[in-house]
Symmetry: C2
Subunit: 107 residues, 2 copies
């Protein structure tokens, strides 16, 4: 099974979330899993890809900026963001990017 997101033809948006975690991972895995479940139910959600070694990278894909804005402001997601910033992430960077083209060997 491929974990590569099956996104539609471009254009669409990518949210690239790059992060380093702290040593305090209490509650982190459960919240991360819950946020993936919840994100997948939002209007405009197209898919997500994630990997973590020393650095973590999660890329979520969205139909448009409005979908990204709504998800950012989702009440339960806002609570998770606040805990993330206070507790789980030592450094992070979020980039909002318009996917213009894609190439694949698997479709």
């Amino acid at each position: 099974m491929s974990l590569i997101a099956e996104t539609p033809e471009p254009s669409y948006y990518a949210v690239i979330f790059s992060s380093h975690t702290t040593d305090d991972n209490e509650g982190y895995a459960q919240t991360a899993e819950r946020m993936l479940e919840l994100a997948a139910k939002q209007p405009g959600f197209l898919g997500v890809e994630s990997a973590r070694e020393e650095l973590g990278i999660t890329v979520s894909y969205w139909a448009d900026l409005e979908s990204i804005r709504r998800w950012k402001q989702h009440a339960e997601h806002r609570e998770a963001q606040i805990r993330g910033v206070k507790k789980w992430y030592s450094h992070y960077k979020i980039r909002i990017a318009l996917v213009e083209r894609d190439y694949t060997n698997s479709q």
Copy 2:
């Protein structure tokens, strides 16, 4: 030390490379390391972030589409791409995306 790329103010480009590897990893680590070294010397290269679990995600950042095109056509990189497709990657997807905005807690 943070592995999050210190990119300039947007806009700039991101190349999101998502992949699954085969069981044949002969030569893979050396080539991947060499490609990172080589990419970092190319005009327009801004940074790179990478993580692999079951899925691998490498995001490289570039000043413009011309820099991405030149790097794609770089002779040694082309050889590595051919070996990658034939040998190391079972599935991959490459997305070219214009980073419009970013947010961080670490600058």
